[in-house]
């Protein structure tokens, strides 16, 4: 084939690649732009301080949902962070065996299981046996999503810690577990913290696992054995309602949610970039 034609063909294909990228960015800005325009215009103070009101009555907010999302995240964190980190430690520090391989493999697969399935699972496991929807169930569901993310982050950052550091500690007479706690984990901490922040960003945006675990509520509640509102489920209910003012609240709440999630992601990115010395 003629070189000039090949060259032109090459340019066209490269152009298509550039176009793909532009398309991706275009959608990102479209979605975020929408969120800004529709979300900001419905944003007001009462959203942050008031409880939901029935349709037709002006005002009303999602304050309880914001608190609910935080509470659910805290429950998930309390369960998920230690398990996630410890499993990561097991894989890297104790795992020269099949079990470690399987943990890593299962954890990877678990992170790809649709979250709605985790919702169904927790429903069967907790909601049915407690005979009611509860914040605890929602938190547990979110923790199951969180664990593989943190395990993976821990695994990757601990692998970056050079062996010479562990040996230095052993040579000083430190037992393995203290070496891990005092030297290995702190040395890998920035990656782990990054992973934890991404995990929070992820679970705060989750809706499906909460639909039939923590359900929703229009009241203030901090009780673990009661249903609780969350930003995402509130958005879903309001968005799919026929009322215009509720849909507006859904937009404003989406804006709040997106800001929280993007902030956490950017923070995580920033934290990951902090200088590591290895």
């Amino acid at each position: 084939m003629n070189y000039r034609i090949r060259k032109i063909y090459s340019e066209i294909m490269l152009g298509l690649c550039v176009f793909s990228f532009i398309l991706g960015v275009f959608f990102l800005f479209w979605i975020l732009g929408d969120l800004f325009i529709k979300g900001l215009s419905s944003l007001n103070l009462s959203l942050f301080i008031e409880l939901p009101k029935p349709p037709g009555i002006p005002g009303g907010g999602v304050a309880n949902a914001i608190v609910g999302t935080l509470l659910l995240s805290i429950i998930a964190g309390i369960i998920g962070i230690p398990i996630g980190i410890l499993a990561g430690v097991y894989i890297v520090e104790y795992g020269n065996n099949r079990l470690a391989w399987w943990t890593r493999f299962i954890s990877e697969v678990l992170s790809g299981i649709p979250t709605i399935i985790i919702g169904v699972f927790v429903y069967i496991l907790i909601v049915i046996s407690m005979k009611r929807f509860s914040a605890l169930a929602g938190g547990v569901a979110l923790s199951i999503i969180m664990i593989p993310i943190i395990t993976k982050a821990t695994e990757e950052s601990l692998k970056m810690v050079p062996n010479s550091v562990r040996e230095a500690s052993y040579a000083l007479g430190a037992p393995k577990w203290r070496t891990i706690i005092k030297v290995v984990l702190p040395s890998g901490s920035s990656g782990i913290v990054t992973g934890i922040m991404s995990a929070f960003a992820r679970i705060m945006g989750e809706t499906a696992p909460l639909l039939f675990t923590s359900l929703n509520s229009s009241f203030w509640s901090l009780r673990l054995d009661q249903p609780i509102a969350s930003l995402t489920v509130t958005i879903y209910n309001y968005a799919t309602s026929p009322y215009k003012e509720w849909q507006n609240i859904a937009w404003a709440s989406s804006f709040i949610l997106a800001m929280i999630v993007l902030l956490l992601n950017i923070l995580a990115k920033y934290y990951a970039r902090r200088k590591t010395h290895f």
Binding site: N96, P162, S164, V165, E167, A168, S169, Y170, A171, L172, G173, A174, P175, R178, T179, K182, V183, P186, S187, S189, H277, F278
Partner: protein
């Protein structure tokens, strides 16, 4: 030989470390073959030999680091005074507190500042000690390692701010801070410039009054400058052991002579 040994015995009569039919493997590869050596208290012994002959492995058998490598295995005995460190009922951790080690490359803890690094032996072993005492230990150890003046004003700084040679000397201070009876050093100066090397050699020479030191080195001049005794290894075996002056002037074995005169290795 007999006579000399006798004289020597009177000066430094106590045996500190002894191996008995020590063999070591990486998986199926035998690295150390039937090592029987004895190291006397408060002497400075240099292990020399061509690359890959098993010097590092031998050193790591002395504080039970060898067995931490996956697939690694040892047979035989190593006595610290009259305690077999490979006794089944013995926690290796207890041995490592008595036998310090300095590695080939500086490996300070980057999650701690310089001060914390020096006392890390105490942090890691949860030994509770008063602040003043710790301050004293830090100063004493850093002075012993010959680096006090260089770091005394930046003890709270991150260790990566130090040069490689300075870091290595802080590593020595860290090992000394827990007051080990034996100090193992694996080519501690191989990555360093001549000035740092001399400083560390000075440090090592002053140390041998309180500590039994075993040092691996590739540098013949260094071995000649600092050591009292020499162990020459070749392909996993100890070929010759003797006083430094003896080995350098009048080696018993052809192999030793070839090696120290630089004919191979």
């Amino acid at each position: 030989m007999q006579e000399e040994k006798h004289i020597f015995k009177e000066e430094k009569n106590l045996e500190k470390l002894r191996t008995e039919n020590l063999n070591a493997w990486f998986s199926s590869l035998q690295i150390l073959k039937n090592i029987n050596i004895s190291i006397k208290k408060n002497t400075l012994t240099a292990i020399i030999g061509p690359s890959g002959c098993g010097k590092t492995t031998l050193l790591r058998c002395f504080n039970r680091l060898h067995e931490l490598t996956p697939g690694a295995r040892i047979e035989g005995k190593v006595f610290l005074e009259d305690l077999n460190i490979y006794d089944n009922n013995l926690d290796p951790v207890l041995i490592r507190r008595r036998i310090g080690m300095v590695f080939q490359r500086p490996n300070l803890f980057y999650n701690m500042n310089i001060y914390e690094n020096v006392i890390s032996g105490y942090i890691l072993n949860k030994r509770k000690i008063s602040k003043e005492e710790l301050d004293n230990i830090v100063e004493k150890s850093l002075r012993l390692a010959g680096i006090w003046d260089e770091v005394k004003d930046r003890l709270k700084n991150h260790p990566s701010e130090l040069s490689g040679g300075q870091q290595q000397r802080v590593c020595i201070a860290r090992a000394l801070a827990v007051e080990p009876e034996v100090l193992l050093m694996d080519e501690p100066t191989s990555a360093l410039d001549p000035i740092s090397t001399y400083k560390i050699e000075d440090t090592i020479k002053t140390l041998k009054d309180h500590v039994t030191i075993i040092i691996v080195t590739h540098n013949m001049q260094q071995a000649a400058r600092i050591s009292d005794e020499i162990i020459f290894m070749y392909m996993g075996e100890v070929i010759e052991v003797g006083r430094t002056s003896e080995i350098f002037t009048n080696p018993k074995k052809k192999l030793t002579e070839d090696y120290i005169t630089g004919r191979f290795g």
